[in-house]
Symmetry: C2
Subunit: 310 residues, 2 copies
């Protein structure tokens, strides 16, 4: 799946993943009204609204980008109906041949981590049959519990040729509280990067330079990104925090390797709620998906020029 | 909710939480057969089997213990039907007046962490109405992302008078890979403990000594537990790793404060799959729930004697 992601990045010339993180305040009124007319102001109504909103965006951008990253929390907040909308979104994006990165940030130990890995990337046994629960292509994973939490995921990745992105240095302001603390003279995130490289070394595809074990490093920390892409040369980096979250195009060059690969930049509200920004306001809420398409094209150009000027 | 937990611990004389972590290999054959006869070998069939299995255990133990801890991964592996079984289990345990600790180990930043907090502990707005998605009483939270990840949870805890347990020192063999690393001469878990105490200080109930912010510290690390219960004197500690996972009664005394409170010990397979152990094999699979009841009583006595002999 890492090689599919790379092929699609090269084909679209867009190392971009669109974060499908639907918040109700992003969803155009007409979509909400139609959903509430059908299901009432209920969890089912909210789930229908975010699903229809997502579908509009995916239809408008699927030919431009290699991947999407639905943030499961935004669905989980609406309980079971929300998670049904998550699953519908994953399935629909796969139909459109998009690579789906489930931003689930799961992480536990032993049989519990195995259950998460099976549920999101693999297949679970029921009697004599096997079923995929959510069936994303990649999942994000929290590594605080150490190798016991990661190994069950890498096992499933090898079986299914899928992948994970391990949190290394997150994009938020307080990420340094623990991640930047020095251990033997090196920040924790660097130790984490070394571990990610080691886990990845045991998890290489049959061909290609990048392992099934990726890393998350925030766009808001370009200097750390520079160090980490050297510590983890065979690790694809998922970079959140572009645009609305503070990072800028020029900051991103550091995350890429000499081959122009090695990173994929996420934008969520900057794309999906583009119509609510001044720059794209002229589209109006009826054309919210066209505004998203225009925002993807602008982002692609911003990244291309950052890579050219490095 | 922390005060309800304490009152129930005192009433039952059992600082015990039963981990409802159903694996298919624990579920008696006759329950699986009945579920598969109704729903086939499907995700729905698996979900029905774990729900019926859970219900039997809860009916047998609800008067003996203050709380249960369903591990969501074990449900999530069965996709949407599995999560429906999780929700049914949470609701049923609450009907039985059990305190429900959702072992979800969620953790993200900003609006995303807020969505998890709202989904598991609070209420989400849909138009003019509010709905609870999963509605557990407590949730476990992963702190690798720092305060940005925790604060949205504590906000909801204050509003709803609910609580969280933050991972500090986990019970697994590799938990030391990061958690034990020394930072300024102190292991990371101790820094984490200090943070938990600080977050908790801003999150005290109107009465009582224990904050809404608890901690997870594994029974397998009694010496660390001793230190941490001093670092976090107003923090309730959720202690996994008892019994099947390696910890023993005598190790547990360290986790409790002078008042005999401050900790609640989890056992999962040791209780729910008791009938598969030699000690309880005579119950047979038809009486699996009675075996669980006997295992709870034995555990209660083991802990009481550990507390008496300290």
């Amino acid at each position: 799946m890492i090689n599919k992601l790379i092929t699609k990045i090269q084909k679209t010339n867009a190392p971009i993943v669109v974060g499908l993180d639907p918040m109700m305040k992003f969803v155009p009124e007409y979509i909400k009204q139609a959903a509430f007319a059908e299901y009432g102001e209920t969890l089912e109504g909210a789930a229908e609204a975010i699903w229809q909103y997502n579908k509009g965006i995916v239809d408008a951008i699927y030919d431009l980008v290699p991947a999407v990253k639905p943030q499961i929390a935004m669905y989980e907040q609406f309980g079971i109906p929300g998670l049904v909308a998550f699953k519908k979104t994953v399935d629909y994006c796969k139909e459109k041949d998009l690579v789906v990165i489930g931003d689930v940030k799961r992480g536990d130990i032993g049989s519990t981590s195995e259950a998460y890995a099976v549920g999101h990337l693999g297949k679970v046994q029921v009697g004599s049959k096997m079923f995929a629960g959510f069936d994303e292509d990649f999942a994000t994973v929290n590594p605080y519990l150490g190798s016991d939490g990661i190994k069950p995921f890498t096992k499933v990745c090898l079986e299914e040729k899928k992948g994970i992105f391990v949190l290394v240095k997150t994009s938020n302001p307080s990420s340094g509280e623990f991640q930047d603390r020095l251990i033997d003279g090196k920040p924790l995130y660097e130790h984490m990067g070394e571990k990610v490289a080691a886990w990845g070394a045991e998890c290489m595809p049959e061909s290609g330079n990048y392992s099934y074990v990726g890393a998350v490093v925030g766009a808001t920390y370009p200097e750390q990104g520079k160090i980490l892409s050297k510590v983890m040369p065979n690790t694809f980096i998922l970079v959140p925090g572009y645009g609305a979250a503070g990072g800028e195009g020029a900051d991103l060059a550091h995350f890429f390797n000499e081959d122009g690969l090695g990173a994929i930049i996420n934008s969520s509200r900057g794309i999906i709620a583009a119509y609510q920004q001044e720059a794209y306001a002229s589209y109006g809420e009826k054309n919210y998906a066209d505004a998203s398409r225009a925002a993807v094209i602008a982002m692609r150009e911003d990244i291309a020029s950052a890579l050219q000027n490095r």
